[in-house]
Symmetry: C2
Subunit: 482 residues, 2 copies
């Protein structure tokens, strides 16, 4: 394989963004197509990113009082069908188990597309008194939705996710939890993934099947399309009513609980690829990079053992400073090939150690985010690497925010929206009166949907409706979504 073969194999973003994305997923060994329609196998490198996300999110969840649990994968039809809007939303893509061995089941079972109904059934057994509230549970699992058009990580028939499900004494407490969790997602995306988001509320048309309100965090991808990165739903007492989830309140009355549910999925890996990646491949934010730094030794046969010995020493020092570092001592590959390989795989920092560096007791530190190189002395390497990792996190966030700001345009007219969506894309800020008919017309005429009605009312103020001209509108975020 030639030195540059990896890079040559990746389609440039400008040529075909979608092809570029699929190339990165495959060449960086994040995932591979499985012989099951619309499903991928998540490979170790991709899964290590998911594990890093999981452990960070799980800690954030637990700090707010979340407890993990696990509920059955299979839901009997009679339970799944209890909530009318929910079933309507999920039934068309529901995979049904009808047989076990040769035997036909007396009642068919659906593989969970989301677990409101099965968890609700358990809540109704576990909640008796106001003392049992709030009940705040979460599960890490996979769910299945038989999607027509699939795309690795972004939309697959099976996907890894977490789903939180909570019960509360009243609407106020439930809404607080739903908003709290969308805040956890926002902070996680911005602080750990370096992905800027807009948080807000979904329109009626875009909300979750069975929710009263859906809150969301939205991110702009590198091709100017929008991605729903995480959602949190206030469910009201609709599921509680059909699942009979009641509690005896202090006043002696039996009342329905108010519920929330919220989730993010391995779609976040897709978001990281599409927000940060470039023509050389993946760029991973340091805080969730399985390998934060890689040491590439450069030697001739006579300097080999000396260079490798020093590389090992440096690896150990960095590991002691809690940096996740990898020494690439593979034989049979040139340093140049290794440089390309690790750039393509998005490792934030490369440390080159060659014969001249040995003389000067230094390494060459190369940043993946900027390509900048500098020489760093061995003695200060751990501290310097830590500092540069922090700087890369900040810089990647800033780059992504700059990109989003450059690709956010305010318009007053439908024709402008249409032009942007069919041209450069990006976020488009425009007024909307709140009417579903206007929303549908805009979508039909422009291909854009409402990503969210932003929470930040100071920034996104009143504005006449793009469609009907009503003055009662407020500024919302349009985009062509994934």
């Amino acid at each position: 394989m030639s030195q540059d073969s990896y890079v040559e194999e990746i389609t440039p973003q400008g040529e075909d963004f979608s092809r570029w994305y699929l190339d990165v997923v495959q060449k960086a060994q994040l995932a591979d197509y499985a012989p099951v329609r619309g499903c991928v196998a998540v490979r170790p490198y991709g899964f290590a990113i998911w594990e890093a996300m999981q452990s960070n999110l799980d800690e954030r969840f637990k700090a707010t009082g979340v407890e993990n649990a696990y509920f059955p994968l299979l839901i009997p039809e009679s339970i799944f069908k209890k909530e009318a809007e929910h079933i309507e939303g999920f039934a068309p893509e529901a995979p049904w188990v009808t047989h076990a061995g040769e035997e036909e089941l007396s009642e068919k079972l659906v593989i969970r597309p989301s677990s409101e109904t099965i968890i609700g059934t358990m809540f109704s057994r576990w909640i008796q008194s106001y003392r049992d509230l709030p009940m705040v549970l979460n599960q890490w699992c996979s769910v299945v939705r038989w999607e027509k058009a699939t795309y690795p990580f972004i939309r697959t028939s099976e996907f890894l996710w977490q789903e939180g499900h909570t019960c509360h004494r009243d609407e106020n407490d439930a809404r607080k939890r739903a908003r709290m969790m969308v805040g956890v997602y926002r902070d996680f995306l911005q602080e750990e993934l370096a992905v800027p988001v807009i948080d807000g509320i979904k329109s009626e048309r875009e909300k979750f099947a069975g929710a009263v309100d859906t809150f969301t965090v939205e991110a702009l991808m590198g091709d100017g399309r929008g991605l729903q990165a995480g959602t949190s739903h206030y469910l009201g007492d609709g599921f509680a009513r059909v699942m009979d989830i009641k509690f005896l309140d202090e006043d002696g009355e039996h009342k329905l609980v108010h519920q929330t549910s919220w989730g993010v999925s391995h779609r976040l890996i897709g978001a990281v690829i599409m927000v940060h990646g470039d023509d050389r491949g993946l760029r991973l934010p340091p805080k969730i990079a399985p390998k934060q730094a890689v040491i590439v030794p450069i030697y001739r046969q006579d300097s080999r053992s000396e260079v490798l010995q020093q590389a090992n020493r440096l690896q150990q020092e960095l590991a002691e400073a809690r940096i996740s570092v990898h020494l690439d001592d593979r034989e049979g590959y040139t340093p140049g090939w290794k440089f390309n390989d690790w750039e393509m795989r998005g490792v934030p920092i490369r440390l080159e150690l060659g014969p001249r560096d040995m003389e000067d007791e230094q390494v060459v530190l190369v940043r993946r985010d900027t390509g900048d190189k500098e020489s760093v002395s061995w003695s200060g390497l751990a501290q310097k690497t830590t500092d540069v990792l922090d700087d890369i996190s900040e810089n990647m966030f800033k780059q992504a925010l700059d990109f989003r700001e450059k690709n956010t345009r305010a318009v007053d007219e439908m024709s402008q929206l249409k032009e942007i969506i069919s041209g450069p894309r990006g976020y488009v800020l425009a007024g909307w009166c709140g009417d579903a008919g206007c929303e549908a017309q805009v979508k039909e005429k422009t291909g854009a949907t409402i990503q969210c009605i932003p929470f930040d009312e100071a920034k996104y103020s009143e504005q006449a409706c793009l469609c009907c001209g009503s003055e009662s509108g407020r500024t919302v975020v349009f985009a062509r979504p994934y």
Copy 2:
């Protein structure tokens, strides 16, 4: 609720061990029956035990070079049916997905009962050269086997587990990995769960569907029945042959890989309950107890704030010493009720803090394993608690080992085996010639099966066959299994 109501609700072990087990699972809120045949919902307390097991095992796996990944839940029939013995073993209990929404699928899909076939398909794409070997992957997931008779944690239609799958250059390397992993399981059970095991090899009759050899760790439960706690399989090149998993070796030849697979499941929670539990409920080994110590404050209204303040201080000190400690400051429950509650839930150490303790600047430390009480001064509490936790781990292992030794009997004749299996049960050491016919006869006549042929040949030496009298036999472990 009366002070002793919890304890009264648990059936004594001596009266009905199985009833006792089900009581503990429910009352300690480890799991609850779900409205899906043979499935349970794992409640937060039970799941926290699983999380502790997971994180410890995962670290042990990774220390041996294991990488985690994730493979599809659903396996197309054509792939699932490739390995004849495998399909024969799993087909009778396989749940089939036949429809998505209203649409009938062109090929039905099985929910994985184990993932050799789907992972093998991916291996065949990912492995080209000897440089790609060994490939050592693992996934944490759930699998489904439509079992007829189910029992929470021990045998359920869906269960949580991990499954490792590896590919190697030759038989020797694969066998080394299979033996290594059964060693990891052995150490984990003994060191973390305080469960003594016998490791050995399964008979042909008892081995995994598709394996050449199955290695196992076996544990004796409190009712004298045996439990297979974990298995590791050397698969030979059987799956590689049908899945076409080949590599180009250094000598230029294309060769089939040799494979292993290995797994433990949430059955380990059942093992912990049945090895350590007593008539007061659960007893959790300190290293996987979600709460290692609980502080129960005892106060009258006038001393309340003072006692709670000190309890909080102690909690913080213990937490800083990396002890997982919980302060039970619930109102409306008596201290006595709390004592019973935490004993039932198996918390290793209870710390009582009452008015007299406040005067003497001490707490009363009560061990769950022995019931022993002693006063400990505040100043030395963190160190003392750490030491006692270690001592409890050791003592629980010793108690379990004593129990096993008392309940292990050597016999020469079938009638003796039968008498023990229908009476006190336990492990029975007897000779077996290796013939499947003899094994089947013993099972039919006594209800006992061979748990394993122990690795430790020094301890389990040659012995004439219990059934046919052949002198070529060696000592194996019989029991009535779960």
